[in-house]
Every structure is written in structure tokens, then in C-alpha cells.
Symmetry: C2
Subunit: 176 residues, 2 copies
Amino acid sequence: MEVSVLRLSHRYVRDTRTTTHLFLVARAFGTDKVVYTGQRDKEIEEELKEITETWGGSFKIEHSESWTSTLKDWQNSDGETIHLTMYGLPIQDVINQIRASKKNKLIIVGGAKVPGTVYRLVDWNVAVTSQPHSEVGALSVFLHELFEGRELSKNFPNAKLIIIPQQKGKKVTKTD
Amino acid sequence: MEVSVLRLSHRYVRDTRTTTHLFLVARAFGTDKVVYTGQRDKEIEEELKEITETWGGSFKIEHSESWTSTLKDWQNSDGETIHLTMYGLPIQDVINQIRASKKNKLIIVGGAKVPGTVYRLVDWNVAVTSQPHSEVGALSVFLHELFEGRELSKNFPNAKLIIIPQQKGKKVTKTD
């Protein structure tokens, strides 16, 4: 099962830090790729590339001119589309069904304003609580539930730096 | 069990959005209070107050001049202190023990630079993956694990707005 994240309507500078957090979560929690619409942001692309080179794994970042074409491509190749929104169905009620389908998944995370058509076109609108909080928090918990915690011990091949977990302090080994 | 979050070294403007996300996650995922050090940020305090008035529950936000005194107060009242860091012990290895203790918990989330003393003074250094990502993501998954998913259906009394979960679209009821 391939899992990608689509971030809508990124605004350069204004959203740079939030979108970076979102993409780092997407990478750390085991997705394969992020795609984003809105303004192209080479800073983020560069940062994600550097993080992946240093900390391992294969993770791709792509800019798309049109969310509708990204969504439709996904649906045409029999992938499932899941929009994270506080207005959707509670994750605890639907996650088993979503997990069971085994289809490739595109997880859509809103930006400034999410067009109403997104809600209608996707297969699932899913809420991680019905309270206002953070798309970063929502994506983290969604992926944690989707992968049933296995993402926590995911292996990132070819890392230059590897953390050795410590009770106190920091320990990092270099592999090159 | 009372659970609070301590955010270290907040920088006004630069960190405003990330810290806001962090505090909104703290509220939505069922903690009682956030305390922060660094620069005072009345925008965030105001936003959290408005969100709580609109969406219900009781949630407090406090500024502290010194993280050491906040930490020591907590420890003196027999509370447990947990620092979230990618260098710590994997959450999946320690969460059962942390959950079992039933002590009040202070969850410490770093800012720009975390002093080495934080690592030494706290009871736990816990990693939500050993990969670089986001303190917002780390806090979300930590709370989700601590509360075992019960936070997802937490009730927020006295809300003015309540979302009725929908398969497609948005539905909100007003209570006043």
C-alpha cells in the first residue's frame, strides 16, 4: 500500500513553517511522497531533500499545478482519497474500514481555504476530533492509526546520522 | 490525572503559528493547561481564549518567567515530567509505564534550543520516532497514546458551536 499526502494551497513564507512540519511528519511517519499545490517553495523542497539525505529513506516531494488533476489521477488509478477535516467522520469510527481496503491512499490536507468540491470528490472526509487544532496534529494521528504504530519503528535506509535512543542526553552515530 | 504542557523558549512572531498549533493540539487532545516560557505572546493567549469560549471546555494558558521554577514546582508536588525529544526513549517502549503511574504529568516541548539540563532534570525523555519532524506531531501522538484514544471523543462543555460529523460537507450547530 502506497501512501502519499497532498497539501492544498501552500503560501510561500506565510505557510512555510507549518507546511515543513507537515511534510516532515509525512516523511517520519512513513509515507512515500508529498505533493503540494499553491505557491512553489524551493526552500521546503531543499530542506526535505537534505533531511532525507541525512536521515535516510526515500521520500519524494512534488509541486502540482492543479489539485483536481492530482486527485483525479489518483482516483483513475484506483487509489483511495481521504480528506482530513474537523467536519468529517470521526477517525475512530472509520479507520478500520479505511485500513482494511489496502488500496493506495492519498491523504489530503487543507490549506488556507478548502473548496467545497474537495469534500464532495474525495472518498472519505475524516476528523481527528471535531475541534479546531492543527493539520500537523491531524496528519500525525491519522498516520499513526493507519499504520497501527508500526511507523514508530520504521527503518530509514542509507542514513548518514542515526540516533541511539537515550534515557538522558543525546547520542548520534555517523555512518560515513 | 492532570496533564499540562510546557512549551520552552517561545519567540513572538517567529514561533507564533507553530506554538498556536501546539496549544490547539494540547486543548483538542484533552490536556488542562499550557504554560510557556520565552516571549509573552498576547495574540496566542487571546486566540486560545476565544477558541475555548467558542468550542467549549476549560483550558488555561499561562506564561512563566522560568522553566526551571515551573518544572520544580511540578516535581515538588509529586508530578511526573516528560520531555518530548527525538533523542529520547521510543514511546512504544515506555508509554505503558508512563500511563500506569497515574501521577499528574507535565509534558515539556522544546523551542529553539533546549538546554542540556532539561534532559537531565526530567523523569522521562521520550521520542516519537527518532527522526526529525515536528513538536506538534510529537505532542499529538504522545497524547493520543497517553489517553489511549479516549481523547478523540472528549466532551467540551458549554460550547457555542458544535460540529455534527458529516460524510460530505460541513454541519455546525449553534447552542446560543
